[in-house]
């Protein structure tokens, strides 16, 4: 890959909940100005337009899926621009007719380097690479604020402010340094002159944007750091918010799908005789791996596709089971080739020297995403052009996928991104199997078609969080602290952030590595990705070491984190809020865990009561994201991440038998509800370290916090999830 220069790009990135990067690369020279969308609207940068009526329109490239990005990102831009928040209008990028995401490809193609062909499908990976080359230390998702916000919105806002000030100074023939912007105006106190952004927009647009616009100091912020009401909330209390499944088009039909139940299976034969005359049925279509029925409403299509006779051929995976997979993974951990992630000191020698190594093995299952809005995509194939309406975390990657499936150039595909009824990593480009279905169906028919997966199809044809086994060996020194730490874990895919397996603790000798194995089960990112299980593994094992050392688990962690003041502060505040060390009723105890992910450090303390069942009564969470943009949204994200992780810890397990997923719907893949949801208290520390992510960081600590509390309450150590399947006696 050609060397990229930092100067050549203003880079940002982001996609949320899914731990990949969807970024922008653009070239400041060319970024300069986009053609005016209309006579009264002037584009200053890719993200913001200043309108003649003095409103500004901020285009948000990221998908809104509940994390508040439609509000948080424009706040960052408005802050730097000194725009009046009441005059800020917000749009999802492509809705303006200007496809901001196209700039990603353009950044490559019009610049000095061509986009490597192999990376076109996996744009997220392309940006991961590009960002690494540029030494930005980008490691994963939760990236909207960190990358689009910090690198894009802030700079775009600051650049726009500088250009508007310069335009005003030219008009008034004064020194730009004597002018300043405030509340969507440029002012010059010396002469008392002032002009609105709207008045200055046209002149400002002719000024080249500064390459290094000066950013505001955090202590001068007037908007960021305040809890600002999210702009997307009102439409979500009236039913007016439209998701992809709410798209209604003239002559649109609905399609229900039945996939081959076995991974890699195909339709062998079918008989549609029984259903073809049912009311409303339009077409019966075979697509790769599935049968589809279209009808004038979804229920009719769904009844028909389930009633029709279909024979599937199971293919090569008909004997695959997760039970056998776990056996294979365990064997590989014993005898397989270990690829090292980290070797520090000489762990092997230290472990050989110790008389009594401490060992433990942990296991986590496959997990489904189970977004509330089942997978769906509306597609219309007309005159060799394809139009899509879909909720996606990666509009450009999804568009590229659709173009490939339709066998047309990307320019022939128009993608209308819709708000997502949940993402969590399910709706990224390479997991677009539902988009593929919609494209295949659309190419068969001459009407717009809305393809909707039932919950059962959604659960059984997901791209799952990988099942993983992790084996630890440690040696303690005379003081009870770990002298050596070895962790070998299994990797069946999507492990990219190797550092997720590194303990934060001061341990002289470490050896961390993986054994890889391929499975037929499709895997992908799942909220917090590797951290979702590495957090459980590391924070369980450190708890076990504390027990062996006969030291309080909180004190044990604090001792091993003496060189990490941010961790210390987070742990101490959490302990204080949770009342660590205070007496509790019988069989009720606290458990602690701390995980840094996506640049944010989060400690969680669970209060758990164990009777016949496990009752998680309370979670106290303390997070240090460096800096808070919108505290109310941040709190909601931490609460959300906790309940997402807790649902998985308590109930989540996808099992495969005879090549097919056993779980079908919420009764056998349960979700936490109000009755079982703990009280959650969230506190923040703003250490002013580099800003961290928020969408995923609440998830990683919660499983270990709960199982550590169960151990404290009962003496029973749970080394496998979910908790509901484990014996507590």
């Amino acid at each position: 890959m050609p060397r990229l220069s930092r100067r050549g790009f203003l880079i940002s990135g982001g996609v949320v909940g899914g731990a990949m990067l969807l970024g922008y690369l653009f070239i400041p020279r060319r970024l300069a100005l986009h053609p005016a969308a209309s006579n009264t609207q002037t584009w200053l940068t890719s993200w913001v337009s200043v309108n003649a009526d003095n409103t500004i329109t901020v285009l948000v490239p990221q998908a809104e899926m509940g994390q508040g990005v439609l509000t948080t990102l424009p706040m960052m831009l408005a802050e730097e621009m000194e725009a009046d928040w009441d005059l800020v209008r917000i749009e999802t990028a492509p809705a303006s007719g200007f496809y901001v995401t196209d700039n990603i490809a353009q950044g490559f193609t019009v610049g000095e380097v061509a986009m490597p062909a192999a990376l076109q499908r996996l744009l997220d990976y392309a940006f991961y690479q590009a960002a690494n080359v540029m030494d930005l230390q980008i490691t994963g998702g939760s990236a909207s604020v960190r990358f689009t916000g910090q690198w894009g919105m802030r700079r775009a806002g600051a650049a726009a402010r500088a250009m508007l000030i310069e335009a005003a100074a030219e008009r008034w023939a004064v020194d730009p340094a004597a002018c300043y912007a405030r509340l969507s105006e440029v002012r010059h106190d010396g002469s008392g002159r002032h002009a609105s952004f709207g008045e200055l927009a046209e002149a400002a647009a002719a000024i080249p944007p500064p390459l290094q616009p000066a950013l505001k100091r955090p202590e001068d912020y007037t908007l960021c750091g305040r809890s600002v009401a999210r702009r997307d909330v009102p439409a979500k209390v009236t039913g007016e918010q439209h998701y992809a499944m709410d798209v209604r088009l003239e002559n649109m039909h609905y399609a229900a799908v039945r996939h081959a139940p076995v991974f890699g299976g195909e339709v062998a034969s079918y008989d549609a005789e029984a259903i073809k005359n049912a009311p409303g049925i339009r077409d019966v279509i075979q697509i790769p791996g599935a049968m589809v029925v279209t009808a004038d409403n979804y229920w009719r299509a769904s009844q028909a596709v389930n009633a029709m006779s279909i024979e599937f051929s199971d293919g090569e995976q008909a004997d695959f089971s997760t039970a056998a997979l776990f056996e294979t993974l365990a064997e590989k951990l014993t005898g397989g080739e270990v690829e090292a992630d980290l070797e520090q000191g000489d762990a092997s020698q230290q472990l050989a020297l110790t008389g009594s190594p401490i060992t433990a093995e942990y296991r986590v299952p496959f997990l489904a995403h189970a977004t509330m809005e089942p997978m769906n995509c509306t597609a219309h194939w007309e005159a060799s052009k394809l139009t899509l309406w879909v909720g996606t975390q990666d509009p450009l990657g999804t568009r590229a996928l659709a173009a490939k499936v339709a066998d047309v150039a990307m320019e022939a595909v128009t993608l209308n991104p819709m708000q997502l009824g949940g993402g969590f990593g399910r709706r990224i480009s390479f997991t677009g199997n539902f988009v593929e279905d919609a494209v295949h169906v659309a190419k068969h028919v001459d009407y717009p078609v809305q393809v909707i997966w039932s919950r059962e199809e959604d659960m059984q044809h997901d791209y799952y969080r990988p099942a993983t086994i992790s084996r630890f060996v440690a040696a303690l020194n005379a003081k009870g602290a770990p002298e050596a730490w070895r962790n070998h874990y299994t990797d069946i895919g999507v492990n990219q952030a190797r550092a997720a397996a590194f303990p934060p603790y001061q341990i002289a000798h470490q050896e961390i590595g993986r054994v890889t194995h391929e499975t037929p089960v499709p895997v992908s990112y799942w909220r917090s990705v590797e951290h979702s299980y590495q957090g459980f593994f590391i924070e369980s094992f450190i708890d076990e070491l504390a027990h062996h050392a006969a030291v309080d688990p909180l004190a044990y962690r604090l001792r091993l984190l003496v060189e990490k003041p941010r961790y210390q502060a987070v742990l101490r505040l959490a302990a204080d809020k949770a009342g660590w060390g205070k007496p509790l009723p019988e069989r009720t105890a606290l458990g602690v865990a701390i995980v840094e992910s996506f640049g944010t450090i989060v400690a969680e303390i669970a209060r758990v009561k164990v009777s016949d069942t496990v009752e998680v009564e309370q979670i106290v969470a303390v997070a240090d994201p460096g800096e808070l943009i919108n505290p109310a949204t941040a709190r909601a994200q931490i609460e959300s991440g906790i309940l997402f992780g807790l649902t998985a810890a308590l109930y989540g397990r996808i099992t495969v038998e005879k090549g097919r997923v056993v779980q079908t719907n919420f009764p056998n893949y349960p979700m936490i509800k109000l009755a079982d949801a703990p009280d959650i208290e969230v506190c923040f520390i703003e250490s002013r370290a580099v800003i961290g992510g928020m969408g995923e960081v609440g998830t990683p600590p919660v499983a270990a916090a709960v199982t550590n509390a169960i151990f404290a309450a009962t003496g029973k150590r749970l080394r496998e999830l979910p908790i509901k399947d484990q014996s507590l006696s």
Binding site: G239, N297, A675
Partner: protein, 156 residues
């Protein structure tokens, strides 16, 4: 034969199979898309509407079962002069995240509060069994608490 019922205060007639679930009549026949499909088996509550004031899961409710009844959907929750207090509390406490389950959640909570305007958090937890995958439950508790406190103050 047409099936008639009162939908958000208006007499409505549809001519479909009697066993078609109300959800799909609302969404695909009448194009009222505020009511959501999520599980199809009455397990999650995203499709909750009110049937004569009671919360009902429309994905498992044959349309014939609502003949002559009053059906209220999220589109009918607002009052003639604007959003109702529950919706305002939802905005004040910024309850929705992705928002997909919120229509059903609002219909379930409003049915509870119609029955018992001073319902406490424990009653809420037992009565409302809707799933929110974004985990908005803390915000739900805060929003409902703000309303029930007002109701209690008004009673006192």
């Amino acid at each position: 034969m047409a099936i008639t019922f009162i939908l958000n205060g208006r007499e409505t007639a549809v001519d479909v199979e009697p066993e078609m679930p109300l959800l799909w009549v609302l969404r695909d026949v009448l194009n009222l898309t505020g009511t959501k499909f999520a599980c199809g088996i009455g397990a999650c509550g995203a499709c909750t509407v009110q049937l004569n004031g009671q919360a009902a899961r429309s994905c498992v409710l044959p349309v014939s079962a609502v003949t002559g009844a009053e059906v209220t959907t999220i589109e009918g929750l607002a009052e003639y002069d604007g959003l109702n207090p529950l919706q305002l509390a939802w905005i004040e406490h910024q309850v929705p995240q992705c928002g997909y389950c919120q229509s059903g959640l609002l219909m379930a909570v409003s049915a509870l509060l119609n029955k018992n305007p001073a319902a406490d958090t424990e009653e809420l937890r037992q009565a409302v069994t809707n799933i929110c995958r974004c985990g908005s439950y803390e915000a739900v508790k805060r929003a409902v608490q703000s309303l029930t406190e007002k109701a209690e103050a008004a009673d006192a």
